[in-house]
Every structure is written in C-alpha cells, then in structure tokens.
C-alpha cells in the first residue's frame, strides 16, 4: 500500500512539469499581455515596456520559466498582479472554499443519488423509475452555468430564501482558523457563523452537484439491477437471510463499487464545474479567482493556482483509489 502511494506521488513530478510547460506557453500565447490588461487598452508602448521590465516579463521565455520553476519548488509562485498578494497565501485562503463547496456538492449528489438510484432499481419499471431515468438524462444535459444562474435567480433574487453570493455574511465577523468557514464556526463554537456558511453553500452545492447526482442515480440504478441478478445474491437468499441483510451486505455493498469509481471520476468534473459555479455566486473560492485572473492576465496567479489544483486533483484521486481498495478486497490484493 505504501509503495503504491509513493509511486503515485512520484508520478506527480512529470505531470506537473509537463503541465507547467503547457501552462507557461499557453498563457504567453494569449492575445494581450498582463501589461495591457493592467494598464488598459490605450497604454503607451513605453509604459508597457516598463511594466514588463518590472515583472521580469521582458526576459527570454526560457529564463522566465526556469526562474519560475526554481521558486515553485519552494511553493513560491510570486505575487498576484491583480491583488498584489502572494499567490500561495491567496490559494490557501481560497482553496478551503472550493473544497467546502465540492464536499457539499458531493454530499448532495451521493446522499440523494444513491437512495434514489436504489429505489428506481427496486421499483424497476415504475413511475419512480421512469422519472428518475428521465430526470438523470436532463440533469446531465443542463449546463452548470445555466443551472447556477437559474437557482440564484429563483431562490436568492426572487424568493430571497437563501443567500445568492459570497461564502458568509461579512457582518458575521467570524474567527478564521482553517479558512474552512463551516469548520471554523464549529471549532470556535460560533454556531451562527457556521450555519450562515452552510446557507451560503446550499445553492452553489446544488448547482455543482446536479450533474454528479444525475450520473450517480443512473450508475446506482444500473449497478443494483446488475447485482440483484448475481449468483451470490441468490446464494444469500438460499441461506434464508432476512431481506434487510441481503440488501445491505450482498446487494448494496457490491452495487456501490462501480458507483464509487464514478464518484472518483467526478472529482475532476467537480473542480472544473466549481470554477463556473463560483463565478455565478461570487463565491470566494479558487474557481472565481482563476476566472478573474484570466481576464486580468494575472500570469503568476494562474500558474500557481492551476499547478496547485493539479496536485489537489491527483491527491483526491489517490484518496479515491485507496478507499476503493478498502471497499473491494480484490483490488487490495494487487
């Protein structure tokens, strides 16, 4: 197991190197550089040259890259041209927001998706089954951006039931420890702050969780329909076990294996979906920062954020693989 983890972490190195080269090249190929974005369209060539010199953007690209790499290994990605703060600091302030959003979206998707998928399978052919099949087809088809916009418009702007922007009401003046606002609220026993953070998470989490929800419903349903026909379920019934035991130990446990793989694959989708969702809800996470930085041609922040996100992504997948091994002894053996 340890060897497996170490090997996966070592695989990160070439991934990050390749990604950083691509990122570096891509950003510099974008029309309009950071100077233009910062100084406006009518900036004089002299002003642009001075700006570039100041930020080291006038040097050959290879030199820039090597300098970037040298600092990056020390987790130093420079300062954001837009906010003037260290990129790394900014990241660790914002990443918890994205993680919270993703976790809530997953809780929503898993918590609703698995029971719904199971029920649909057990009532195969019923109206509940057909509804969930059609619903899950629609769910995947709706663009995240559009759904987020609709939810915000209806429940935040029109009905005013839930907050439609930010991570927490600024008037809360909550204490910050980990920058996971819900967690901080619980740790400091500032219950109202925690609750306010949860309320802020609901709409974005639903928007972000809908596609995974639809996929989980579909996979769970198909998987349960498969598993109930397995020989070992017949064996369990032949043993005269109570239906609840058959269901829990023999059907659901095995039906969840493909579901857990799917959830693992969703991690990447969720991270990219978070960018769009955060933008709509002005949610102070990594996603909205990347979105803003892209328009500001904030190279330092983009490079730092995307590389660190890649690390998070790989770590999440590693975690998924490890938990998959815990669920399925056949995987553990390898």
């Amino acid at each position: 197991m340890l060897r497996f983890i170490v090997r996966r972490l070592l695989q990160l190195i070439p991934i990050l190197l390749g990604l950083s080269v691509l990122l570096f090249a891509w950003l510099r190929a974008l029309p309009g550089g950071p100077a233009q974005a910062a100084l406006g369209e009518r900036a004089t060539p002299e002003a642009i040259a001075r700006y570039n010199e100041l930020f080291g953007l006038d040097e050959p690209i290879l030199v820039q890259y090597l300098r970037f790499l040298g600092r990056a290994v020390r987790l130093d990605f420079g300062t954001s041209a837009r906010t003037g703060r260290a990129v790394t600091t900014e990241f660790f302030e914002r990443m918890p927001g994205t993680v919270e959003l993703t976790v809530f979206a997953l809780i929503f998707a898993v918590g609703v998706g698995i029971p719904l998928g199971y029920l649909a399978a057990r009532r195969h052919g019923s109206w509940l089954d057909s509804t969930s099949v059609i619903g899950s087809l629609l769910g995947v088809a709706i663009p995240v951006f559009f759904l987020a916009y609709l939810l915000r418009l209806l429940f935040a702007v029109e009905l005013g039931w839930l907050p439609g922007s930010g991570r927490q009401d600024v008037r809360m003046d909550a204490t910050r420890i980990t920058n996971f606002y819900v967690l901080d609220g619980l740790m400091t026993r500032e219950w109202d702050a925690a609750w306010d953070a949860v309320l802020h998470l609901i709409l974005p989490a639903i928007a972000l969780g809908t596609i995974p929800l639809a996929i989980i419903v579909r996979i769970t349903r198909a998987s349960v329909l498969d598993v109930v026909n397995e020989d070992y379920v017949r064996t369990a019934n032949a043993k005269g076990l109570a239906m609840s035991t058959v269901r829990r130990r023999h059907i659901i446990r095995n039906a969840l294996l493909p579901v857990s793989t799917t959830i693992g694959l969703q991690a990447g989708l969720l991270l990219s979906g978070a960018v769009l969702t955060e933008t709509v809800f002005a949610f102070g996470g990594v996603g909205s920062a990347i979105y803003d930085a892209l328009f500001a041609r904030d190279f330092a922040l983009l490079q730092g954020f995307i590389l660190m996100l890649a690390v998070v992504y790989v770590l999440v997948n590693l975690l998924v693989d490890i938990s998959y091994g815990l669920l399925d002894p056949r995987v553990r053996a390898r």
Binding site: Y232, A238, G240, L241
Partner: protein, 350 residues
C-alpha cells in the same frame, strides 16, 4: 428394488406436477418445467439428470422458492415435510431456507460474495437461524470449515473468495449449506465448474456428509458418472419433463428410454465397457418439438416412429409405470431379450 424403499413412508420432499413458465413481456412464454413429480425420502440421494437446458436448475430453484416472483408462473405442488411451499409467504420460505433446506450451486466463485470474508458468509447463516453469539458462531464456522476439509480454517475465515481455490470455494459453500444441519440438500451441478480431480473429492465429501447426517440429497447433474457414484434413484429429464425414472442399478443396466440409452452411450463407463465406442446423441437439445405435438425427443431419436409424432387418444406421450420402481415416457423403448422380471413390455404394448 433398493432397500431404500423400505424407509419410513414420510418423504422429506414431495414434488407434484410442478410446472414453471417464464412470461417475459414481449417474449413468447417458455415452459421450462412441465409437470415434474418426484419424492425424496430422508437419507435418500435422488439424481435429476439431463442435458443442459432441460429444466434441472429451474426445478431446484422452484423447490427452494428462489425464482423471481415477476415474470414467472409456478404451478403444481412442492411439499416440504408436509408443508406446501408453492405460494407460501416469503417469510416462511426464508425461515426454512438455509435451516431445513439448503442448496449448493454450480459456480462456486460467482456464488460467493466477493467483498465479504468467507467467515462472515458462513456465520451469517448460523446467526440468522440459530440463537448463537458472534463468538459461538465463529467457533461453529471454524468447525464447519474443518469438517468440509478446509485446512487452517481460522485463517480461511478471514480470507475473501478470490483468495481460495475453486475446490476450497465449493467446500466453503457446502459448509454454509450444511451449517444448520438441513433435512434436504439440493446440489445443482456442484462439480461442473471444477477440475476433474477436485470433482471426485467434492463428490466424496458430499457422499460422506449425506451418509453421516442422514440428509436427503437431490443431486442435479448432466453427468451420469456423478449419478453412478452417488444416487439411489434417478430421474432423467428432457425438455422440462421426466422421461424415465429408475433405481441407479436398473438405469445403468437397462436404460429403456432411447434418450437415456443415448446418454449412457455417450459417457465413458467405469464399470467395464472400456472398449465400447462413445456415441453422442444426434443433434442438440434445441432440436425438440413441443410435448403437445408428440415426443419432444423424436427429432433426435433412432427408435422414433410415426406414432411418436402424434398424440394418441388425445394424450401426449405420458409417463407410465414400467415394472417395479420404474417409470417411462416412451412409445418404442429399448427392448432387452430375456427379461426375468417380465415387465418390460408395457411401453411397447401401447
């Protein structure tokens, strides 16, 4: 007749006119089992023999009440220790299954849950049907694995099915089936998925266990070799119906149904006949006609004559007594010249 018929008259299992129809939506209904009757006495081993697809598994699943409720019509009667099981509530069946009647399946790997340790899969039967603590159940499970010949049972209890060999898996399944000392054990081709040497070991194990405990055994197989070593009485099935019933000895010595004769000729015999050529039955199990139109075996039968293909006096080819302890469904059975019992002409006389 075998001395077994002198057993107490009370059979463990009485199956009467059992019929199973699959009625899938959008598909033509298939009659997988078509009026099967047989009984099993305590301590008796009854064979259900026939080519793949003749309805052996469906018969056993119907007896155990394990067929899905939807899309399946079961009729006739299955009485277990006098209690009617066809149409019995699910709770009744679950109380009996695993405790009083148990089953061993064909493919040990797919019949075991891959994500649950062997130990749990054994103890769950004990905990379900008997009033044991977890600790007692584990001890009992250890003893069971030991009894079915699994070495180092304590360690094996913690292992998963994929860590065991095929033979060990089938032994584990047998341990689960015998955990609560059932009165009836149905073994559906328990050795088909195993290597030849392992097959013999598993059959020997089943034989010992049945002899030791007096459990009635229904042995389902397509392999007459298995029948020869194990069964007291044999029912040969074809296309959902029993076509010949006889004690093992009679069946091997004088098969009457041409299909039975064909089965015997197509397997290597251990008792002499070493040089005899193996002659497979013509065609395949798919070359059949509906029983309503005559004898389902007619398209493949060397003895077939015109009257095999028509119903006679409004009845299809029926199962008739054929001498002591025998029954036969055939209009032109195999004849044996000097017949000491003098009772073989019944089938031919029709």
């Amino acid at each position: 007749m075998q001395p077994l018929s002198a057993m107490p008259a009370e059979p463990v299992l009485e199956v009467e006119e059992l019929a199973v129809r699959f009625t899938r939506r959008g598909e033509q209904p298939t009659r997988a089992v078509d009026g099967v009757s047989f009984t099993v006495a305590p301590g008796e081993t009854v064979g259900l023999v026939g080519e793949s697809g003749c309805g052996k598994s469906v018969t056993s699943l119907a007896v155990m009440g394990l067929l899905p409720r939807r899309g399946v019509e079961v009729s006739g009667s299955v009485r277990f220790q006098g209690q009617e099981l066809v149409g019995a509530p699910d709770a009744t069946l679950r109380r009996l299954r695993g405790a009083d009647m148990a089953m061993v399946f064909q493919d040990p790997l797919s019949s075991l849950n891959p994500t649950v340790p062997i130990g749990t899969q054994v103890t769950e039967v004990l905990l379900e049907h008997r009033d044991l603590s977890r600790k007692e159940a584990t001890d009992e499970a250890t003893g069971l694995l030991d009894k079915v010949g699994i070495p180092d049972p304590r360690r094996r209890l913690k292992e998963y099915p994929h860590q065991l060999s095929g033979g060990m898996r089938q032994r584990a399944l047998i341990a689960m089936a015998l955990a609560c000392s059932p009165r009836l054990l149905i073994a559906d081709e328990p050795t088909t998925a195993l290597d030849v040497t392992i097959q013999a070991q598993i059959l020997e194990l089943l034989r010992e266990l049945v002899v030791d405990t007096g459990t009635a055994l229904v042995m389902i197989t397509h392999d007459l070799g298995v029948v020869a070593g194990l069964c007291d009485r044999v029912h040969v099935m074809y296309a959902g119906k029993i076509i010949e019933t006889a004690d093992r000895h009679d069946l091997f010595a004088r098969p009457r149904q041409p299909y039975t004769g064909g089965l015997l000729a197509s397997v290597p015999r251990l008792d002499g006949g070493r040089g005899a050529p193996l002659t497979p039955i013509r065609g395949s199990a798919r070359d059949t006609i509906p029983w309503a139109e005559g004898c389902a075996f007619a398209p493949r039968c060397d003895n077939a004559q015109d009257d095999c293909l028509t119903e006679v006096a409004g009845s299809t080819v029926s199962l008739e007594p054929d001498g002591p302890g025998r029954e036969l469904r055939c209009r032109h059975p195999i004849q044996y010249p000097p017949s000491p019992a003098g009772a073989t002409a019944l089938g031919a006389a029709r």
